[in-house]
Symmetry: C2
Subunit: 336 residues, 2 copies
């Protein structure tokens, strides 16, 4: 499988894909390219960086809401409502915007970015797509009595706690996980995509073993100290995981209760097919974000999740005159 | 050879390179990946789209200056001075900005783009990086008495004339050249990168056979109806081929008279080592522009052209906090 850039019917460029589809037992169910490809998980690791909030009792300690937990797993669009909810989250844990160490950047949503530019909105740390994750990290520090200062540093207890959680779910020993600095300043983790997929798959049995199982019409689930609360937060709040018009939100909204997906920077995408218990992670070898969206949708389709809106399946390419001159489209499929 | 994205010492992504180094006789002197890789030449074809201006007598007819000829080969930065020169060029050939059909876009230079945004400059067609090429095409139409209207259409005599010239220099029959619509609306051409390299190589002997040869200190050359005038225009005006701080300009300025290079969109780069008579074309398989810059510099180095400024050899990667978190760098080299 790869994603082609086609101009006038001729392939101009192509993006190679590596992917692993894994069940909760660790079996490789399907793959693309090299399923053991090593790269950084980036923001697709956020659910596992948020898990300590549930498992260590931070959520119950502060009374963190499900929406706030979703924002801790999110790469949000900096929409006014999202930013307001992060501010509430900060207040709830006794912190302020000044405690946030994430760097500012233009909103990931083009529409929001344009709006803020027009209105001259000053983009502070709380507008970072990672501000929910950072607020969660501040909460983790506060709960444990760790210093709030320097919580982004790889040797800070917060980052070590996240590494331990990533190691637990992926099955990769901490010593074998590569650690570097992410776009927002915290630690990010390098490991095989197959193990990233395994971590997502392992969220599945917890969901299915919960009382009443997962129902499409009402997937409310209640298990106080479990990974389930992370999955539930993401399933219930697709609008917070990304934002209006962005792929994670649109993919989850297309099949409510069936799937969680999380994009990471530089062409990473992870997901869980809830009922099937299959974890997925893909990497576009060259880091191309748009290609990663088309590829995750194609993989979900091949695993039985259909339909998806056409604009998530093929992306038209226009030129400076507004003419449609080509498209990005997926070629090939999973190897089983 | 490929270009790696390295984060904290670990490879996160990589960009595969295909390249061909060819002499004027068509011999493959060196290569990377697949030297017969087919893709679109995009803006790296501009010197050959400008050649009819010299060969058909358009330059002499209108008294087109060397700087204007350089702009016809350029993907300029929309700098105020460059835009002013294109306006003069339009006036010289009896046209106005309203005749230009290139679509508007933000300047390719970040600095210029930011300046224009701050000052609220309205970006019309003359600000397009391709406005020199389009003005040349208007001149070609005017000279031959072809209609100016619709000069961008693939069936217009201007575009057919460019296709014929591309076919002549690349040695690929017109029927085997793929034609599609470029970013600015004119025809663009798909063919093997080896043949693109050959076209550049074929400019070399013309230069070296010219009276006095090419001298580093004074490469003025005078042959009225020859490809030489294109090479001379590019060698003399590196500041017009791209602009301040952009790679084509910086690469040519680093070795005056020794090399012409021209970037194309989506990871294409072509060049001619003037004294060596070697033509080069590379394609980043996934279309990554920054990777193409590092790759062309590495190839020029391997072919003996040194030194280059460090920022053209490795590109640091910073995050939203302004921290340096990694780099783009070239791995491997040419196969001979």
């Amino acid at each position: 499988m790869h994603v082609e850039v086609v101009r006038g019917g001729i392939v101009e460029s192509r993006h190679r894909i590596h992917a692993a589809v894994v069940d909760a037992g660790g079996a490789l169910v399907a793959s693309v390219g090299e399923p053991d490809y090593v790269t950084f998980w980036r923001s697709a690791a956020k659910p596992f960086q948020a898990l300590p909030l549930v498992l260590d009792g931070v959520v119950d300690h502060f009374g963190i809401t499900r929406a706030e937990l979703a924002l801790a797993c999110a790469s949000h669009s900096s929409e006014p409502g999202q930013v307001e909810q992060v501010r509430e989250f900060l207040k709830r844990i006794g912190c302020t915007e000044r405690d946030l160490l994430c760097g500012p950047h233009p909103p990931l949503s083009d529409a929001v970015a344009k709006d803020y530019q027009t209105r001259g909105v000053r983009l502070t740390a709380v507008y970072s797509n990672c501000s929910g994750k950072h607020t969660g990290m501040l909460a983790l520090a506060g709960h444990h009595g760790w210093p709030v200062e320097g919580y982004v540093r790889p040797d800070h207890p917060v980052q070590k706690r996240c590494l331990a959680e990533v190691s637990k779910w992926t099955g990769v020993p901490e010593s074998q996980i590569g650690v570097a600095v992410d776009g927002c300043g915290v630690a990010c983790f390098a490991l095989p995509i197959r193990n990233m997929a395994l971590a997502y798959a392992r969220l599945g049995p917890e969901v299915r073993s919960a009382e009443g199982g997962v129902r499409n019409d009402d997937y409310s689930l209640h298990t106080p100290h479990s990974a389930l609360r992370i999955v539930e937060a993401m399933l219930r709040h697709p609008e917070l995981i990304a934002g209006e018009g962005r792929p994670c939100t649109e993919i989850m909204r297309a099949h409510p209760g069936r799937v969680i997906v999380k994009i990471g920077a530089d062409g990473v995408y992870s997901g869980l097919l809830v009922q099937e218990g299959l974890g997925i992670t893909l990497k576009v070898e060259d880091g191309h974000g748009a290609a990663s969206i088309l590829a995750i949708v194609r993989i979900l389709e091949e695993l039985g999740l259909r339909p998806f809106p056409e604009h998530l399946r093929e992306r038209p390419m226009t030129n400076s005159r507004g003419e449609t001159v080509g498209a990005l489209r997926v070629r090939g499929g999973l190897t089983r």
